[in-house]
């Protein structure tokens, strides 16, 4: 049938419309995906990419529209129906059960699994698949023990095991290191060679170029353009997405560091599993300086930000902020000393999903005037303050009273950013602040960080994106297994060398 009907696309979505209270996430979207094709789906935060793909995956029922697979109209009522048509989706937020093993997660919910599954057999085939596609992972490990990169591998393995023909990858690389995302590309190309198809969502333009055959850009729930990837360029795409020229470089004042704001001396701390996460780490951040922490995720970045902000105990060593000892002080005491924190986990630590945007914005200043008097909160003042912040940080929300969890990822991040920057008095700790953000929002976040530095704050920026570190930070420190591998002025740093240090390769003495 392949020869006779080359024109019938494998998947065809027509006129898909889906609204949520206050927003039309998809507004009549048409999508076509050919057999053996990789389609990149691009768009700002909140453009409706995930919503469109969740419709295909059976999690959302569209208000209107039709889906055809292999030319035939299909009714997709549940994820089960969708899987029966060969669709497998790797969701933006991982769909894994933490307390179960990799093997259990792989077969969970799979159609045709016998009542008493032979788990030994499952493990064997998982290992086989892992071998074949180069996705190394231990089938007996519990998901909570895995790094994000490994969890991502499990997600992919899960779909390979289910023999998905149509793979949907919703921002799979947002949490991956450049090496890991290169590995993912190898897997995708391999699946493509086997005749499988994929829809690939990303905010990184270079990945669109390497992964995809065709690209489609969504804006505010509508398709703005569809192009063959090779006939376009990252700059082009960025412009189409945001609707204006995007600056990839950030302007900043010359580097004039002031007094030391944050100092860590031989700090040690344990991670959640009780293993050493920071090993004798020492560093200094000065006023008017952005110190970039480079490193592969899971090398102590999270723990570093947590010991500074009082969320994790220090087992030995000392931390001082503005020359005042803050080792193992409470988060409140540390906040009072002028520290702001943009945490890695937005939903769990950074914001309260079930509370309104306004309440989230007021969450740090609620003890003080003007939004409270004594024990009373002043709701009208809170709303006024929220409106002002929504305006100045351009947070896209139906209203200040909307619950934060209904915003898109980018706008949740902007809400946190607005609150933290507003309350920052001396030190800003930002952990992957642009992760998952579209290029417009990323640009805005970076500008804000630099503006804080220019205003004389000390900024500690954790990032995996070497390019971001080199363009935003003044100084870069490479973290590997909780140790500092070296500190460089960013102007002199060599991306190649940073990459090696991040991988744990010691710096060799240069022989000339």
């Amino acid at each position: 049938m392949d020869a006779s009907e080359p024109k019938v696309p494998l998947v065809e979505m027509r006129g898909i419309r889906k609204s949520f209270p206050g927003v039309t996430a998809c507004d009549g979207v048409d999508l076509r995906l050919g057999r053996g094709e990789v389609l990149a789906l691009l768009g700002e935060n909140g453009a409706g990419k995930s919503t469109l793909m969740n419709v295909l995956a059976g999690l959302y029922r569209p208000d209107e529209g039709e889906i055809r697979i292999g030319g035939k109209p299909v009714e997709i009522r549940s994820p089960r129906d969708s899987a029966a048509h060969g669709v497998g989706m790797v969701h933006q937020n991982f769909m894994l059960v933490d307390t179960m093993t990799v093997a259990e997660n792989v077969v969970l919910g799979m159609a045709g699994l016998p009542l008493v599954p032979d788990m030994a057999e499952v493990k064997r085939s998982v290992l086989e698949l892992a071998e074949k596609y180069g996705l190394r992972v231990d089938p007996d490990a519990y998901v909570w023990q895995l790094s994000v990169g490994e969890q991502q591998r499990v997600e992919i393995l899960k779909q390979l095991y289910r023999k998905a023909e149509i793979l949907v990858l919703d921002e799979p690389t947002a949490v991956l290191t450049p090496q890991e995302s290169e590995e993912l590309n190898v897997v995708v190309q391999r699946m493509k060679a086997e005749g499988k198809s994929a829809v690939f969502i990303t905010h990184k333009m270079e990945e669109v170029m390497t992964f995809s055959d065709r690209v489609m850009v969504l804006r505010k729930g509508k398709v703005v353009v569809e192009k063959v990837t090779s006939e376009t360029s990252p700059r082009d795409l960025a412009k189409l997405m945001v609707g204006r020229e995007v600056l990839f470089r950030v302007e900043k004042k010359s580097f004039e560091p002031g007094a030391v704001i944050l100092e860590l001396k031989d700090v040690r701390a344990l991670d959640d599993r009780g293993l050493p996460a920071l090993r004798d780490l020492s560093l200094k951040v000065r006023a008017g300086e952005i110190l970039g922490i480079a490193g592969v995720a899971g090398n102590g970045q999270r723990e570093l930000s947590e010991v500074i902000t009082g969320l994790r105990p220090v087992s030995s060593g000392g931390i001082s902020i503005n020359c005042v000892e803050t080792t193992n002080k409470t988060p409140l005491e540390i906040i009072r000393s002028g520290v702001s924190h943009i945490p890695q986990d937005r939903i769990a630590v950074g914001a309260v999903g079930d509370m309104s945007v306004a309440s989230n914005l007021a969450m740090k200043g609620y003890r003080d005037a003007p939004i409270s008097r004594g024990v009373l909160l002043l709701p009208r003042r809170i709303l006024d303050l929220a409106r002002r912040m929504i305006e100045s940080f351009r947070i896209a929300t139906p209203s200040p009273e909307t619950r934060v969890k209904f915003l898109s990822g980018g706008n949740i991040q902007k809400t946190i950013l607005a609150r933290e920057i507003e309350s920052c008095r001396s030190l800003l700790v930002a952990v992957y602040p642009s992760r998952g953000l579209d290029i417009g929002a990323t640009e805005a976040v970076r500008k804000e960080l630099v503006a804080q530095r220019d205003a004389g704050m000390a900024v500690l920026l954790v990032s995996e994106d070497i390019e971001e570190l080199l363009s935003v930070a003044d100084t870069v420190l490479v973290l590997y297994e909780g140790r500092a591998m070296g500190t460089f002025p960013s102007a002199e740093a060599d991306p190649e060398e940073l990459g090696l240090l991040m991988a744990g390769v010691e710096r060799k003495e240069t022989v000339s």
Binding site: L59, R80, A83, V97, D98, V107, L108, G109, D272
Partner: protein, 317 residues
Amino acid sequence: MMDLITSILTITLRAGTSLVYATIGETYTERAGILNLGLEGIMLMGAVSSFAVVYYSGSLALALLTAVAVGGLLSLIHAFLTVTMRANQVVSGLAITLFGTGFASFLGQRLGPASNGRYLVGLTGPRFAPVDPGALGRIPVLGAFLNQDLLTYGIYLLIPLAWFYLYRTRNGLWLRAVGENPRTADAMGVPVFRAKYIYTVLGGMLTALGGAHLSLAYTPGWSENITGGRGWIVIALVIFSMWNPARAITGALIFGGINAVQFRLQASGTNIPAGFLNMLPYIATIVVLVAITWWETLSKRIGAPASLGTSYMREDK
């Protein structure tokens, strides 16, 4: 000495049987993310309905069936309110206990024969008597397990079965996933809503069977508050057993065992006040729970199903 142990163990198992049924039932319900605080009411309703049926029909099988149906129906209401209507699980559960307690007491005053003033209290009917294991019953310790009624024999089967189902079968895998992370379970193709309904109803059925054991075997007949708060103890035992059916037996044995010791002491005529002895099982439960929670915070990771008490809707964020 052997005799003493055997006799205490015999009473322990008898006292613990109703707890095992209800603990395993509630474990399954909670594994599906549903907290059912209606247990006390369901147990009482199971006890009164099964006794009334056995009194008039003389059929123990019919009595058990009635208890199962009543328990299933009451928990179906809970499932409907919390899963479909997304009502607060605590409120719905408490409502079922309030209703069940009151209604069971009402039935106990209305279902009896005219000769007894329509009261069920004080009547006797057929009961599950301990089976006669013959010579085997005289073997120390083992005899304690054999000198039991059929419902207690039932737990010897139920415990391993419930464990196997939860940890070794496809449906058990689904169940564990539903309580832990319903969104993931749903996205992976597990029928989440059906599972929540099935295991809430199943939990209610087992709980009512526990209630039936009280009125048909342990303390045959009906009396007000025949459960003595066992429905609440079960909520604690589920936590103590860490949502593992295999561990349900230990919790039940501790509570049942202290019950047994208390009987022994009372029978031996000690001068410890009876009121204090009656308090023992409850105090012990509290102490054990506090210890467990303390231990749990040390070892982390094992704990309540993560979605327990929350409702899930597919299109919610």
